[in-house]
Every structure is written in structure tokens, then in C-alpha cells.
Amino acid sequence: MMQNFAKVKKKVTVTIDGVQVTVPEDTTILEAAKKAGVIIPTLCHHPDLKPRATCRVCIVEVKGQRRFQTACNTPVGEGNEIFTNTKAVREARKTVLELILADHPQDCLKCVRNQKCELQKLAYDYQIREIPFTVSAKNLPLEDSNPAIVRDMNKCIKCGRCVEVCQEVQQVAAINTAHRSEEFCISTAFEEKLADSPCVYCGQCVAVCPVGALTEKNDTARVWAALDNPELHVVVQTAPAVRVALGEEFGMPPGSITTGKMVAALKRLGFAKVFDTNFTADLTILEEGQELLQRLQEGGTLPMITSCSPGWINYIEKFYPELLPHVSTCKSPQQMFGALAKTYYAQKANLAAEKIFVVSIMPCTAKKYECTRPEMRSSGYQDVDVVLTTRELAQMIKEASLDVDTLPEAEYDAPLGLSTGAAVIFGASGGVMEAALRTVYEVVTKQDLKDVDFKMVRGLEGIKEATVDLAGTKVKIAVANGLGNAKVLLEKIKAGECDYQFIEIMACPGGCIGGGGQPFGTTVAIKKKRLEALYEIDQGSEVRKSHENPAVTQLYDEFLKKILDHEAHELLHTYYSARKD
């Protein structure tokens, strides 16, 4: 194909602070400077997004140019002499920072991003001790009208990263820049509440915000209150992608596997039982696999699309409600867990459902919304009571002063804590598909699957496609991560140009490892590390096929088969409906 012969990029040689470096043409000054040992400060720039060059912190001097150049978007030119550390540059950067700070609250100590704020770090690096300009407070009200995301526009530095990710990556366009000059701000259309906007609560805006303007709604107080209440039996479930990201909050390198430490910490926090969402991920595979086979055999709506990602569910409800029949009726693993915790587990533990308080630790902000949905009360109560993000869990561990380094590792509790390698890869884009294929293959072919690795669906690429041979039956599949990529597939379905049978969609780029509730500072490079860690866990698992999870078999035998069919169905399945105006 043509692109295989794409022309080799020319190299250009430049000097940066006297150091000569040779880089491919089109390399930005920012990237070239790294080769000269300089990490030029940035604020509006995010490595995974297109440069906007609006904050003007990354300015440098280029010999022969009257004005400063912004390193984030300016490509180097042959023979450029670039200076990143002159008196003029340092002074100008400092002035830019002072200007931003003059328009920003001065209460770092009380900020949710204290010590994790990109503006604060620069203020420290540039030794800003006082602001020579008029500092003004805006006193804007908090926007916290929804269960997932809080917007504090007093802290917004107008970098535009959130707009970029919402418009260009997710293509949801719930927010945009509005007004001019002093009034310039990031806003929903007509300043409506996020709840009334097209927002799907994916939280990618939160993930890229450099300051404390965008955060998840903090629910740690509700969890502490439940833990402190002797009347309640508080159980917790942890999503697969949390265990490979939590360590970053405690200074461990990205991709550190912290499952044992995390379970131990949760036990020390006082949870009665520490369970695993992976258990219901395995269950999802059985239910969803069954549904797929049924649709294939009985001529149901195809392609069938996965339903695990609540940001994705919000998206299809709001943007493509006419395609809802394509979505699997399976609840997400988190909600299957909630329903079972307050029925199956309640029965086993001989507890009243109302005494059980279910907490989820999720890499996700949309899960906070999902648990409040009216469809998610099949136990007779709200099935999942509170959802915390990876970040909030880290906060609680810090608040409890637990020394994660020395904490001995612990194991999940039975039975809702037992799972397979197939479940853990749910945390990465392509994981649900791979897990489903492992099971469906064996069910359809009645043969043992020798090589369980379906590598063609792995990785961070936005859209992945493959055809799988199930003993003669060819199944065409696709995997999309990030809603902008999902949109491409949905448009194909709408146009009738889609011959897939099964599609996996995750709202966040990369899947849950890149979720809106993951530790701040997530980049593609960090996602890769988290992803590798998930496959490492899978690789090392004794059981790697969901249908071989003995605890799931036990669940069917002891519980699901004994209750009425429709009751079992209601616990694990649901229907979504249009929410388009």
C-alpha cells in the first residue's frame, strides 16, 4: 500500500542553548529541547492533544526572530539557534505565570489538586513569592449539579485542554470556549448545567485539566460515614484497571501492579469484605456471550455492542438512541456486582440487603452516575451505593495514614472476589472482546482453545478490526476506544455499511486504563504501562477463561438457576432508552 512508502522525513540540525541536536523535520522545539536536556515548561499543552499555544509559558527565543516562539507548536528549522534560558525568557515566563496567578484563587492549601497541580509546580519552579498585579476573585458558583463531575470555574486557567478532548477526541462537544477577553471562559452551551448538556460524564476533561477546575464529585465522606456506621456491612469492589494505576498515587512507577497492596489497604480502611469487579466481569462474559450466540442463531440485532462502559451508554442514549437495540442487555460488571451483593451475597452471609453498603472503586467518573440510574435498583435498593475513583481511594488511604510500602499484600474475599485472567483485561481496550472470544470459541466449537491470546484486538489504536474463525464460522469483530472512534463505527452501522457481528466500545481512549477517574498526569505512555501490567496479570493467572471461574459456576448452581428466570434476568440485564431532546 502507498503509505508504506511514505517519504522518509528529512533531518534538521539546530542548536538549543549551545547544544547541537539533529531531529526529524516537523519536530517541535519542545520535543527537540528534550534531546538537549531541557524540559521546557508547558501549561496548556498536553502531550496527547494538539497544541493550542495559548498559555504562552513555553516561550523561547529563536535567533533572528523579533518575538518569542512557543515551543509546543513551533517546528524547528534548519540551523535555528534556540535559547530557552535567557534573562528575557525567564522574566517573560515569570510574568505570564504571575498574570495567570493574579486571576486564580490563592488557596492552594485547600485545593483538591494541592501538590498535583501543574500551575502550582510552575509557580514553585519559578520562585513566585508574590504577585505584583491586581489579584481578583471571581466568586463564581460551583457547578456540581450532577453525580459525577464538579466544575469550579474560579480555578480555570482557560488552557482549553478540556475543550480539545471533549470536542476533538470524544467529539461530544458538551463544552466549548465562550465569550471574549475577561469573560472568556469554558462553558456548556448557554451556560446550562452539565446535567442538561450533552455531557456523558466520561471525565476525560477532568483527566486533562492541569489545575483544580475540574474534578470528580468527591464521595469519600459518604464512604467514611458508612464505614463508621456499626449498623452497616460495608463491602467494596475494585475495577480491573484500578490495580495497575493506584501505585502512581504513591510514587510507584506507572504500570506497577498493586493488587495485593490495594486489597490490604481496603481491609485496613475497614471494609468488611473486599471483592472484585472481575468476578462479575467473568459473569458478564457468560451472559453476554450467551446473548451474542442467541442473536447470531436467532437473527437478533447485529452487530451486538458491549455495554460495560457507562460513558459509552450515556453517549449512545444521547447521540444515537436509534441504535440502542444493538447494545447488549447485560448490565456493566459494576452493576451486576451491586445487584448480586445485595441478593446472592446477602443470602449467603445471612444479611438483610438494607444493611449492606456497596462501594465501588472505579477508574471512572461516569460510574458515579451509573450507580444512581433508576434502572440500577434490582435488589430493591440502590445496588451500588457509592462509587469512588482511583484518585479518591488514594485520598482515603492517605487520610488513614497507611504506609503502602510496608503494607503486607492481602487477597480478595470469596466468593465475589474470585476471578480469571479474562476478567482483568476488561480494563484495557479490546479486553472484553478477547475475554468473550475465549469463551465463545469454546462454547461454539466445543474444543479447547489452545492459544488464548487474541493479540489483534489489543493495544491503544482507536479502532481495531478482525475476523475470527470459530471452527468454520467466521465472526467479524471491531473494537473502538474513545467516543470519537465509536462515532465512526456507529455512522457505519447507520449507513448499513457494517458487517461486524460484535463490537466492543469503551468511552475512554485506551479503555478503563485511561479512564476519567485515574491518577492525574495520564498520557499515552503511561496508559501503555498500565496496559502491559494488565496483560501481565492475565498471563500469570491460573485460569484465563471466564467460563472456568468456579465461583461463577457456583453462583449459577446455587443461586441464578434456583430463582425465577425473569428474576435472574432482571438482576443482570437492563434496557436503556433514548435521552435525546
Binding site: 497544541p51 493550542r52 499555544a53 495559548t54 498559555c55 504562552r56 509559558v57 516561550i59 523579533r66 518575538r67 518569542f68 507548536n73 517546528p75 528575557a88 522574566e91 517573560a92 510574568t95 505570564v96 498574570l99 495567570i100 493574579a102 486571576d103 505584583p132 498585579f133 491586581t134 482557560k158 482549553g160 466549548n176 470556549t177 465569550h179 471574549r180 477577553s181 475577561e182 469573560e183 472568556f184
Partner: protein
């Protein structure tokens, strides 16, 4: 000999604006007729020889701009005329649009032919809404007469003109913001590179020139580049429409050859005619709010691109706003800054936050509470805006401030000491007029 040189404004007030007949009788469309028989490269050469520099304000050599676009072999190309004349004190494009629209149409059509473009857009500022209908009438009559539209003058070349408009944001005069606005997007400047010649309107290669620049093209075609150049100076070909306003006896638009001195422009009886009142002139503001202020010691500078630049001045849009001694520089700069606070698009830090802080600092001077440190802060901010802003708007917003800081430091010092030489600042405050 008259100092006024009506080359491109010759028809203004003398012909019926939308009448092709009148325009042709006055020599109109002969430039187009000639151009259609010339190879495009030759036309570009004439523009180069003429040393025509962009009349929008930046003064970029039009010939080079045309050459660069010509070399891009990617089609379709678009022609855009920037008629978003928003620079305060500037009303020369309005004159051309109103009184001789066919000249602008002819210039745009010649450009269209050079680049084999089939669509041209003229972005007429929202505040000129009244002009848009008349301009459309001119387009329609040019089409009817065969000078525009399908198969122009019997050739195979077809070219259509479309009027676009904004809602009055000054920043839409910045070319990339203007293209966004034409595309129906928010009028904020684009990240460059890519440059507009490569990725312009609708992502296509695009020529953007000012109204006055286009209006010069028919003349250059008629008389040739060399002759045109000879009217001006060695580096600034032809004539310039200047807009005199403020404390000057004869405000208005005048077409003058490059090379007259600023003193000629402001004091000559045929032109500005000196101060309008009894007070002496104190300073003048060149090229609109985004331009530099000039001072009495600079009056003998010839009005042309290089000579002004050597003195830290510039032609800009051609505006010359004259201030006499009744004007307080602090008060004046506050008004300028207010303008930029209002018009900043808000996307970059220096312009959004800097103008706000400049205003606060100037206000301290006006209140008599400023110190030496505040003067230094103003210097720091004016440098930052000039060197670190995202687009031309922010880069130019503090130009007047920096020239005044340098040349009227004594007046800043007086305010620090609690005196306003013009008697504006503290009296205002005392009488509660603020």
C-alpha cells in the same frame, strides 16, 4: 503642486458607485481586460515591481505573498478580501467600498484570475451592514456586464464573489480569525503554522488582502508596476489613503504619495491643517489603536514603511489620530487599553490578562497612587504583550503604551508625583465625573 494624489480614490464621489457604465467610462476594468491577456506570473511581476505593501496594517509585500501562493500547486484556491475595517480612526476602506466598489471587485477578480480561483469572499464588517447591500448591487451589475461571474469577458475564466460578514468583533480583522468566522466558526485566531497560503479558507490555499490593496491592483495593471512605484518612495510604492482625525483642523480621508513628511500630513493646509483648537499638538497615534504613538520630534520623518520603521513608527492602517495638549497621555492610554480589553478574544494569557492589568496600573497613575515600580511593571507588560502574545492583536495592543512610556516618561513621573499636566486625571476624580 498638490500634495494629494488621487490614484485609487479618483472615482470617489465622481461616479455612481454601482454603475459599470460610469466606472468603465472612468477607465475601469481596463486593468482586468489587460490582465486577462497576460500570463499570471507576469501580473505577479508587476505587483512585485510596484512594491505594493499590504494596506491592512502589517505592510507585508503583496508581490511576495502572491508569489508564495502561486507556487502552491493545490486547488481550489480562494481569494478573500479583508473588509473588516475595525481599527479605530480608520475609515478609508469604507470610502472605497462605498464610493468605488467596482474597483475593489476588479482587483479581486484580477487576483482570482492569477490564482485560477473561482470563488472570492469579501468579509465586510458587521458595522458596515448598510454598505453590504450596495456592494452586492455592484457585484450584480458587474456580473450582468460580464466582468464577473461565468466566462468573464468571453474567456473561459469564471469567478464568483460572495459577501460575508461578522458580528463586529475586532479580532475578526485578524486574517485567520476572519477565515474561521467565514467558515461559521468562532472568530478566534488559528495556530500557525500552517500558514493561510497553504491551509486557509476551508483548509484550502488562500490569498487574503485588504480592500485598499485590492483597489491598487487595477491601477498597477493600467500603468505598470514601475510607474506605480515611482509615485512613492524606493521601498513603498504608490499612494496611501490616510485617515486624519482627532484634534486636527481638517479631518478626513486623503490619498497621498508615500514620502511626504508627517509634518506635511498633519499641518499642511491641504491636508490636516494643524491643530483644530488653540492648543498645540502633543502627540499622534499612527495606524489605529494597535499602532505606535508619534511625537513632535518625529514630525520630519517621511511617511513610508522603512523610514517610519526606523523611528519605531509604522503606517499600519493609515490612521493618524492627532492629540493636542488638552489630552492626558494616561487618560488616552486608558481608553486604548479599554478597547483592547473589550476586543481581546481571550485565548492567550498575555492579551487576556495583560491588558486587564495594564488598565489597572494606568488607573493607579490616574488616581495618583502609582509608584516607580508600577512604571516598571507597565514596561514589563508592554514587552510581554509585544513579544509573547498569540496573534497580531495582542502583539500590538501595547504598542501605543510602549512608545508613550519611552517618549512621555515625564508625564508618567508627574502622575507619580501627583500632578496631571493636562489637568485631566485628578480634576475628573475630584468632580466625580469618572
Amino acid at each position: 503642486m498638490s500634495k494629494i494624489m488621487p490614484l485609487i480614490s479618483a472615482n470617489c464621489g465622481k461616479i455612481s458607485p454601482a454603475s459599470v457604465e460610469d466606472y468603465v467610462r472612468a477607465g475601469g476594468f481596463s486593468g482586468l481586460q489587460k490582465a486577462l491577456k497576460m500570463p499570471p506570473t507576469q501580473i505577479i511581476n508587476e505587483v512585485k515591481k510596484a512594491k505594493l505593501r499590504g494596506r491592512g496594517g502589517a505592510g507585508y509585500p503583496a508581490g511576495s505573498k502572491w508569489q508564495q501562493l502561486y507556487e502552491i500547486k493545490h486547488f481550489p484556491k480562494y481569494i478573500v478580501c479583508n473588509a473588516d475595517e475595525g481599527e479605530p480612526g480608520t475609515f478609508k476602506d469604507k470610502l472605497l467600498l462605498e464610493k468605488d466598489p467596482l474597483r475593489v471587485i476588479e482587483g479581486m477578480t484580477i487576483a482570482g484570475y492569477v490564482f485560477n480561483a473561482h470563488d472570492g469572499y469579501i468579509y465586510i464588517r458587521g458595522e458596515y451592514a448598510a454598505l453590504q447591500d450596495d456592494f452586492q448591487a455592484a457585484i450584480d451589475s458587474a456580473v450582468r456586464a460580464g466582468y464577473l461571474g461565468d466566462k468573464i469577458l468571453g474567456t473561459d475564466y469564471s469567478y464568483h464573489l460572495h459577501i460575508m460578514t461578522g458580528a463586529g468583533a475586532y479580532v475578526c480583522g485578524e486574517n485567520s480569525a476572519m477565515l474561521n468566522s467565514i467558515e461559521g466558526k468562532v472568530g478566534r485566531p488559528r495556530v500557525k503554522p500552517p500558514h493561510l497560503a497553504e491551509v486557509g479558507l476551508f483548509q484550502q490555499p488562500t490569498l487574503v488582502n485588504n480592500v485598499e490593496s485590492f483597489a491598487n491592483i487595477p491601477t498597477i495593471m493600467q500603468i505598470g508596476g514601475e510607474k506605480y512605484l515611482s509615485y512613492g518612495t524606493v521601498d513603498s510604492g504608490g499612494t496611501k489613503l490616510i485617515c486624519l482625525s482627532g484634534n486636527v483642523a481638517n479631518p478626513g480621508v486623503y490619498e497621498v504619495p508615500f514620502g511626504l513628511t508627517l509634518r506635511d500630513l498633519i499641518y499642511d493646509e491641504e491636508l490636516g491643517g494643524g491643530p483644530s483648537g488653540q492648543k498645540k499638538i502633543k502627540f499622534f497615534h499612527l495606524g489605529g489603536q494597535s499602532g505606535p504613538c508619534g511625537f513632535l520630534s518625529q514630525l520630519d520623518t517621511p511617511y513610508c514603511y522603512q523610514a517610519l520603521r526606523d523611528k519605531g513608527l509604522s503606517v499600519g492602517s493609515g490612521a493618524i489620530v492627532v492629540m493636542d495638549e488638552s489630552v492626558c497621555v494616561i487618560d488616552y492610554l486608558k481608553a486604548v487599553t479599554e478597547f483592547f480589553i473589550h476586543e481581546s478574544c481571550g485565548k492567550c494569557t498575555p492579551c487576556r490578562e495583560g491588558n486587564k492589568q495594564i488598565y489597572a496600573l494606568l488607573d493607579k497613575f490616574a488616581q495618583g497612587t502609582a509608584s516607580k515600580e508600577d512604571y516598571a511593571l507597565l514596561q514589563r507588560l508592554s514587552t510581554l504583550l509585544a513579544k509573547a502574545s498569540f496573534c497580531g492583536l495582542g502583539q500590538a495592543a501595547a504598542t501605543a503604551l510602549s512608545t508613550c512610556l519611552k517618549n512621555l516618561q515625564a508625564e508618567f513621573d508627574a502622575h507619580i508625583e501627583g500632578r496631571c499636566p493636562a489637568g485631566v486625571c485628578f480634576t475628573k476624580q475630584e468632580s466625580g465625573e469618572q
